[in-house]
């Protein structure tokens, strides 16, 4: 009876309302959202991208072991596209035929010329390559070693951890700048050595942060689960803990880059004769201080100092924003 009251089942089930997948926001929309939420971070990113663009040049077909600064990635890079002239090109004044020392900015030389008649703007762009690649190699070294030490030290804890941490404390007690000046003076000048030295100094802070993160990660259920199914220590560390601490590592990497670039510039400034001469912001800054050229009008100083300030600021802001997005609770430095 009741069945008759109910309306008969329609023979064909009415098509459900059309399903629409939520539209994946476009890349542009994501960038816009990031910019709105973190304007300073976006500004930092802009500086970082500009600096990356400064290093790009036509690669040459010569492969081999990476060497700084000429072969940063194992192959040689030509003149950066953003530079107008070669870094060592010497210009002469058209009217007098003399070397164009300390020219004021003009359409030919956007930031004027330096003591040797070379284009300041082009040298500034060239120097970005040196700073960035020294930073990248140093941070790569620091991050790999620091992560390995931090993970192992925190994973095993106990007396092993204590010994490792005391050794790290003694690295920390090193006056880093002095050690770096010493290191570059102990060997024939080489930027590769310098990069390793800078990385070595960075190991302690990287490992401290990584260790802190791992100490809490290793207590989580998935690590316990891994242990229960019989994963070896190595397997637990590499396949279970490491993927879960990638976010802090990325943040440490990006914030560390600013610090390393700053340290490299300071070192080139303090001990230029020990650091190979080629376009370098630190050495450019040092030159103006040493001679106080009356006609330079400070453009040289402004170019070098401004580049250092902007680069460091850019990496710090970008790193901070990245931290807020990836791992807000992380305390760095």
């Amino acid at each position: 009876m009741q069945a008759e009251d109910q309306p008969a089942q329609p023979a064909v089930i009415a098509a459900p309302r059309e399903w629409t997948l939520p539209k994946r926001p476009s890349v542009a929309a994501n960038i816009w959202k990031f910019t709105r939420r973190k304007p300073l971070g976006a500004f930092g990113m802009l500086i970082v991208i500009t600096m990356l663009a400064m290093t790009l040049g036509t690669p040459k077909a010569s492969f081999g072991a990476p060497d700084l600064p000429s072969r940063p990635l194992g192959f040689e890079l030509g003149k950066p596209w953003l530079a107008r002239y070669d870094a060592e090109a010497i210009f002469r004044n058209v009217d007098t035929g003399r070397i164009a020392r300390y020219n004021k900015p003009s359409t030919d030389h956007w930031l004027g010329t330096d003591k040797g008649g070379r284009d300041t703007y082009s040298r500034m762009v060239f120097a970005a390559r040196r700073s960035l690649f020294i930073g990248l190699w140093a941070l790569m070294f620091a991050t790999v070693i620091g992560t390995a030490v931090g993970v192992v030290s925190a994973y095993f804890r106990g007396w092993f951890d204590t010994i490792i941490q005391r050794i790290m404390d003694s690295f920390q007690a090193f006056p880093a700048l002095l050690i770096l000046i010493l290191l570059v003076s102990l060997r024939p000048p080489s930027l590769t050595i310098l990069a390793f030295g800078l990385g070595f100094v960075g190991v302690t802070s990287v490992q401290r942060i990584v260790r802190g993160v791992v100490l809490s990660t290793r207590e989580q259920p998935f690590v316990e689960a891994a242990r229960v199914i019989g994963a070896t220590d190595l397997r637990t560390m590499v396949f279970h803990i490491l993927p879960n601490i990638m976010a802090p590592i990325i943040v440490v990497f990006s914030i560390g880059l600013g610090a390393v670039i700053l340290a490299e510039a300071a070192l080139a400034f303090i001990a230029p004769q020990r650091v190979p001469q080629d376009p370098s912001w630190g050495i450019m800054l040092q030159q103006t201080r040493a001679y106080l050229p009356p006609e330079a009008e400070g453009y040289h100083t402004l170019a070098a100092g401004g580049a250092i300030v902007l680069a460091v600021l850019g990496f710090n802001l970008a790193g901070d924003a990245l931290r807020d997005v990836l791992d807000p609770r992380l305390r760095v430095g």
């Binding site: 700048l177 010493l182 700053l262 106080l292 100092g305």
Partner: protein, 335 residues
């Protein structure tokens, strides 16, 4: 507490031992290069370029550095000398490194202290104002300024200040030696301390260094103040009807300053090594300038000695800071 201090001192000794060993190893990475460089510098005057004399010069340098002995013996002698407080004598001036460090400590410490004072004088009022007027225009402006000074590296700022004053004010600080600047012990030269000269030299670097340090302290103090101002006892103080000045200065600031003081202490420790840059730029005859010159002269006993002394200062300043922390804030206990 006593046990804690004792344990820390023992650990510090271990750390210092590690530092000494690292310096030892560092100086022996590439002895050939060092010896060649050093021999090149010493034998320029007397030798032609004959092979014999350079070999002789090299042998002499090896003997000077003690590199002709087996490495373990070198290590033993090195550690023994350090334990006896003997850091050897410098190559260049043949001075006893230990007493030279003592002589040059004066200007370095003075600069460090002045820097911290400048930083505190700037940072404390700004930090307080910025915290109690949170999110106002004043706060934003002050925070922006502090971020700016945090971002400008000290050597860039120093160059701009020095060039600017030379160009527009036609003034640069005078140059002098530590004997005039800071006779040690005081008044040993009979002329006393020339305070006017001293101030002229210290003025610029103290301010340049103080700005950078001040920015760090200000940011830290601001966040501490914000935290303290939200505590219950501060609300009680408001409820009692105390004046704003009293609440901020007596109740909030006292507690907010404790963690800040530890930061100041740690900065004081790093200042010894951080002042290398300021001393080099402004020509202040302290430890930093001395060691940079020593490095370019390949004067290894000096470098070795200074690195060790700085490391020792650093670890013990850290210990002092921790003890002072417990003394200032009785809630803190070290087990």
């Amino acid at each position: 507490m006593q046990q804690y201090i004792l344990r820390r001192i023992l650990l510090n000794l271990l750390v210092i031992y590690f530092v000494a060993t690292l310096v030892f190893l560092l100086l022996r990475i590439d002895t050939d290069y060092v010896v060649t460089q050093r021999a090149g510098q010493t034998s320029v005057a007397e030798s032609g370029s004959s092979q014999d004399s350079t070999e002789a010069a090299k042998a002499l340098v090896r003997k000077d550095l003690g590199l002709d002995k087996p490495i373990l013996k070198q290590y033993w002698i090195y550690l023994k000398d350090i334990a006896q407080g003997d850091l050897g004598e410098s190559f260049q001036a043949k001075d006893d490194v230990m007493s030279e460090i003592g002589n040059r400590l004066g200007p370095s410490l003075e600069l460090g202290l002045l820097q911290v004072i400048v930083a505190l004088v700037i940072a404390v009022p700004i930090g307080i104002v910025s915290a109690i007027r949170q999110d106002s225009i004043v706060d934003y402006v002050l925070r922006f300024v502090s971020i700016a000074f945090l971002g400008i590296p000290v050597f860039v700022l120093a160059v701009f200040v020095l060039l600017g004053s030379a160009r527009w004010l036609h003034y640069t600080p005078p140059l002098t030696t530590y004997k005039d600047l800071f006779p040690f012990p005081p008044f040993s030269t009979g002329r006393g301390v020339d305070i006017w000269m001293n101030l002229q030299i210290m003025f610029m670097p103290a301010i340049v260094g103080g700005l950078g340090t001040g920015a760090i302290i200000m940011r830290f103090l601001r966040s501490q103040m914000l935290e303290v101002m939200r505590q219950d006892y501060v609300r009680t103080a408001w409820a009692k009807g105390l004046r704003e000045r009293v609440i901020i200065m007596r109740h909030a600031l006292k507690n907010a300053l404790i963690p800040v003081l530890t930061v100041v202490g740690l900065l004081l420790g790093t200042i010894v090594s951080g002042n290398v840059i300021l001393e080099t730029i402004f020509g202040i005859p302290g430890i930093g300038l001395w060691v940079v010159n020593a490095i370019s002269n390949l004067d290894y006993p000096v470098v070795q000695g200074v690195v060790l002394v700085v490391a020792v200062t650093l670890v013990f300043v850290n210990l002092m800071v921790d003890i002072a922390y417990a003394w200032l804030d009785p809630r803190i206990r070290y087990g």
